[in-house]
Symmetry: C2
Amino acid sequence: MNKVEVIHTPALLPLYSLNDKVVVVIDILRATTTMCVAFNTGVNKILPVASPDECLMFKEFDFIIAAERNAEKVPGFDMGNSPFEYENPFLAGKNIAFTTTNGTKAIKMAKAMNPNCILIGSFLNITALCNRIKESGKDLVLLCSGWKDKYNLEDTLFAGAVIHQQLSSAYEMHDDAALSAYFLFEQHQHDLEAVVRKSSHAKRFTLLHLQTDDVKFCLQQDTITLVPEMEGEFLVNKTATQIAG
Amino acid sequence: MNKVEVIHTPALLPLYSLNDKVVVVIDILRATTTMCVAFNTGVNKILPVASPDECLMFKEFDFIIAAERNAEKVPGFDMGNSPFEYENPFLAGKNIAFTTTNGTKAIKMAKAMNPNCILIGSFLNITALCNRIKESGKDLVLLCSGWKDKYNLEDTLFAGAVIHQQLSSAYEMHDDAALSAYFLFEQHQHDLEAVVRKSSHAKRFTLLHLQTDDVKFCLQQDTITLVPEMEGEFLVNKTATQIAG
């Protein structure tokens, strides 16, 4: 039986081996949700980069540049990190260099530890994601991006959803972090939105007076059937018919 | 209103400030439970030390030496880490140098960060502990010792119990880790033992064929009314009538 581990924050990554495992990077509010939306709109490639300064250097290479820090778009960039921005059909076929506070950092840390593959998860593509995981036949690590290396509620809830809804019969929960995520989702599966609105990140959104209801958007389930995946340094949609860039 | 934060493992301590806060160190299975039992038996002082080698050096200074690694007593030491061992009346008035896999490490890490005070928590002394916390009028950090820097279930359940049973009206849950601990205890308050028996540490005990039922013992509530506390390098029971050593 394959094993599933949950890592609550990237700060705990050094305690784990990712060797030959499938790693799912989770940043529900909002980076990994936004990445799923971007590929669904037809984006060609996303390059996760560490900092806004590094991201800016890709401007001259015909990338759209996107940067978010502390839940806000960084001034001077083409785009921020709200999933609504990435529904714009203008983005079809484009390449995006992307940096966010937590999600792109988690992707780059996982990449450096040579896993079997890195997949991008969100409630929007949860069933497609779980099918891809089950096809792999590999042990699984659910890596929560957290908030500045601290634990967050919404990423752990999603890790719990993956195990509870989809994998509990085929995967053994290998550690207490997986058990705890499973319990958290079990308890709140019927009031997800209410619970996520209590989270510190949802409160951060309220303080910023976001124009769009990103929390509600990010909790939609199975609106997208693709699974973004790392290929070299890039995120791609392997199932897409290639669109000319 | 005072704030309460929960830290799931000592590996995340560097992300927090403990300045002027009350810190409760939690290692339910079993170090902090055992410490409460030891003082209840009449132990004079406990010196938390980092390693078995360092612990051994206190033998010549008339300390009882106690060491546990990987849930087992280290060969050559007077005592291990089962709370049952510390009910022996022979220990009254004695001083113990103590090292365990997780709990004593968490205490020493917290001590190095200059909090207002460090208290020792367990289900056995939970009400006395919470009264002491409320008297302090300080912000609170509940520091889970975890297992080798990873998250564990029983310490987080106890953190949730402290907030849920005792502090929810007087303390603001400052972060998602506190919310999550609260939810975990809320969900499992009526089947604590069953849940803790699912934890990885309880399974470790089963593999070791412990002679005593340490899990059941460590989940007893309010059998002890004292609160061990750091004073300099030592844990002491400030409320005890001093017993000649």
